[in-house]
Symmetry: C2
Subunit: 181 residues, 2 copies
DNA sequence: ACCTTTTAATAAACACGTTGACTATTAAGA
DNA sequence: TCTTAATAGTCAACGTGTTTATTAAAAGGT
């Protein structure tokens, strides 16, 4: 029974349905569920490259900034892009460094900062992964009509704003075009 | 710049934008971001009760089934409802049991099964949490118009189906009305 | 009846996320 | 200048998720 269909039910039944499954709760549970399913799907796809979703996120950020002439990025700054704490970045960079995909370099102008830089291996790997992953995601999203995708993006933008996403509405910031305001 | 606005740009600029930020990728990143922000938001709200989102998920499932006369649920079955592995359920139930919110009981008819049951403390706690949490989520979702919520639910349902969510379209199954097909 | 396959739960090892505490360094203000 | 506050990174402890392997019990086929 879709929510739309409940609209056509007698008031008594609608009330019963609404009482046990209020629409906002249903909405939130669906958002969380799609997020986790999408995460699993991407993790699964990337397992053939021995990479995880968050790891590719880091490669994507660093790759994008590299293409814009900024080589080497502080851990905290990467964390802001990914909406993740700097403590978490320490572990992420540890594992990427262990796998030879990034290096930590000291910043000569500020000795607190460690700049993370992609290795040649990572540049090659990311370039090899990107097209296929994009193709894969495009196929997944193809279940939605063009107008539906526009609307979805718009709604998600509103939710990001109400949820206080710092990366929303940064013109050419770390958000990489994810902004849907 | 919204996706809609890019529609009105000269083809050359649109191509540049599309090349670095293809819409399907933007869509996926937004879905993942909203999922994680929502998760943090709920975690934060529930911290005052010393509970986590997934823990309340278990209470919600067990509470719902209890109200329908089914007291005690196998670990695996809870896992199916939450789209989570049974290995994960072991740890979840461990912590809930440690906190005195559930008990494991042996099933007399099938000695492989442990049935998880809510304690009185959990019933009381869940009843106390539910209204406020629902109110909170309702306020969050209030940024969306009614028609927008309907459309969002519809799109999320399509995504859940293409992502192979087992709980989709189970009439009165463990999905608790989350189905938006 | 016996053997094989499936199923339920657990455990170990790992990735990822949090908070809170800590060190080192830089920035700011009296 | 000297004290104080803010910032970058790390670490420890924890919760949640995965996969893989193991044990025990149930189910099925010959």
């Amino acid at each position: 029974m879709t929510l739309a269909e409940t609209r056509q039910l007698p008031a008594r039944i609608l009330n019963d349905f609404e009482r046990s499954h209020p629409q906002p709760l249903v909405l939130v549970l669906n958002l969380l569920r799609v997020g986790s399913l999408l995460d699993k799907e991407i993790t699964d796809y990337l397992s053939r490259y021995d990479l995880t979703g968050p790891q590719v996120g880091v490669l994507r950020i660093l790759g994008h900034y590299y293409e814009h002439g900024r080589d080497g990025m502080p851990l905290s700054e990467i964390g802001e892009c990914l909406a993740v704490t700097k403590a978490n970045m320490t572990g992420m960079v540890d594992r990427l460094e262990r796998d030879g995909l990034v290096v930590r370099e000291s910043d000569p102008t500020d000795r607190r900062i460690k700049r993370v830089r992609l290795t040649p291996k990572a540049h090659e790997l990311h370039g090899r992964i990107k097209p296929g992953l994009l193709q894969y995601l495009t196929e997944l999203m193809a279940v939605l009509e063009a107008s539906e995708k526009e609307q979805l993006l718009d709604s998600l933008g509103k939710l990001r704003r109400v949820l206080g996403d710092a990366a929303v509405s940064e013109p050419d910031g770390c958000d990489l075009g994810v902004v849907a305001q």
